[in-house]
Amino acid sequence: MTTDQNILLSALVDGELQGEELDQVLQLLATSAQAKIQLERYQLSSDVLHGYGSGNQQQDLTTRLSAALADEVQYTKTLERKETSQLISFPQQFWKQTAGLAIAASVGALAVVGVMTQPQNQLVPMASIAAIDDSVETMMVAQASDRWTVDEQEVEERLNTYLLDHNEYTSASGVFSYARVVSYGSGQ
């Protein structure tokens, strides 16, 4: 992943892309698995840092992550290095650099969240994992529910069919009604 691509992904999460840049980053996401992983991390980081989530448990996580990050010297150095290189490369787009820096600062948090949501992720620095105790991981996994909690595939397929048929009647969030279908089990 290049610095340009990271900046584009961060700007996408911040809702700052339009026109060609939006097309460019969507093309990148369509062709690069790494870009998709990176985007997921940025989005998670953004939500955690903004305190979005499901109630107090999420806030506890934010507090724990902040405490863990305070001890992460390694990422402080990365932050300083990134600031210099980006200023030289993109002097006319300082607003994007700022977004990039905020994201770089949260890379540690992202890495930890990434471990909890995607255990198979090989890009996560192992040093960060030690900062979080086991109880946090257990709590987050218990919240995962992007697919039906059933044992048989046949039953799962039947429930999916029913969900599809039911979707036309979800009035309050009509714009997003099919998001569950298109997202079903994607995190698995």
Partner: protein
């Protein structure tokens, strides 16, 4: 004695009416909030837009691109998952096509759609105000647009609440938080970027999902025409005895299940905002089915087997609601 019974019945009816009146008075609906909700519902169907939104349930986050076009031909919508498993969904007026990878090929399933909410949805939304407190919240910024928050709190614990953020100029829904009875966010949809009022080309609504090793394979869908579907409506032998206050039948239809051809009856009940579907499917062979409840994000289901039928209740309502409805369903012949 007969006279005494009549008196008791009359008193009971008055008591019921008073209960209904009191519960209606409990709900508070800001008229501006209702109007905003109505405009938002209409905007979702009438606007052209192209955006990227995040969908968060529990600790899972998915990013989805949505392209929506509305013109004299009706609505066309395309959703593309941007992370995790690659998926696309195309929805036209009466058909939904899900495209997803299977092995090294791409599978496309097509299903006929129901007709959505009936034409009187707006009046149903107004009626829903008896069961929710609707108030305008703060103004804030979502996806770069000024947005008005709309807070929707249910009067009981049989339905969820919502916090909606609606674009001030266009009335498009920009963010939706589904709130549990404990006040926590169960699901969140939020645009990170969206452009409105665009000319949406045919190409942008055409599925692009393909890969070097992937070959197109289109599943044969078994479908019924709307005439066939509606022919069975209104002849149900099933009865739903209990529903939360304010819920009523808004749709009933029969479809063929795509895989084994078993007839499936769908009955949709709604209070104007929340809705549940009851699916009743005749068992044709020895198949497994859900016994009890299951959850996916904020959607709960309850399943049981009754008189050689799979009975399943699905809805964006708490688990207690689908279970209570499911346990109240009975076969008219068994009475």
């Amino acid at each position: 004695m007969v006279r005494g019974n009549k008196l008791m019945r009359a008193l009971f009816q008055i008591f019921l009416s008073l209960c209904l009146l009191l519960s209606s008075m409990h709900a508070y609906a800001d008229e501006k909030a209702i109007k905003l909700l109505e405009r938002t519902t209409a905007a979702a169907k009438q606007l052209n837009y192209d955006g990227v939104f995040g969908f968060q349930a529990g600790d899972k986050l998915q990013t989805v691109r949505i392209i929506h076009r509305a013109d004299v031909q009706g609505e066309v919508e395309r959703l593309i998952s941007l992370n995790g498993i690659e998926r696309e969904l195309i929805r036209t007026n009466d058909m939904v096509t899900c495209i997803y990878p299977e092995g090294e090929s791409v599978q496309a399933d097509r299903r006929p759609l129901g007709r959505g909410f009936p034409g009187d949805l707006l009046s149903r939304l107004t009626a829903a105000s008896a069961y929710y407190d609707l108030t305008l919240g703060k103004q804030s910024r979502v996806a770069g647009y000024q947005a008005q928050e709309l807070v929707i709190k249910p009067i009981d614990n049989y339905r969820y609440g919502y916090r909606l953020w609606i674009a001030k100029e266009s009335d498009l829904l920009l963010q939706s938080n589904l709130i549990s009875d404990r006040g926590s966010v169960l699901e969140k949809f939020s645009f990170s970027s969206v452009k409105m009022g665009l000319d949406i080309t045919e190409q942008s609504l055409t599925p692009q999902m393909k890969g070097n090793e992937m070959a197109w394979h289109r599943a044969k869908a078994r479908m019924k025409s709307h005439r066939e579907i509606s022919a069975h409506a209104g002849t149900s032998i099933w009865k739903v005895v209990w529903l939360p206050e304010g819920f009523s039948l808004i749709k009933q239809q029969n479809r063929l299940k795509a895989k084994n051809g078993a007839p499936v009856e769908q009955r949709v009940y709604s209070d104007g905002l929340s809705s549940i579907s009851v699916f009743i499917e005749k068992i044709r062979a020895r198949h497994g089915h859900l016994h009890g409840g299951s959850t996916m994000g904020a959607v709960n289901v309850f399943g049981t087997i009754m008189d050689a039928h799979f009975v399943t209740v699905v809805g964006e309502v708490p688990a207690r609601t689908v279970e209570k409805i499911g346990r109240s369903i009975s076969h008219r012949d068994s009475e």
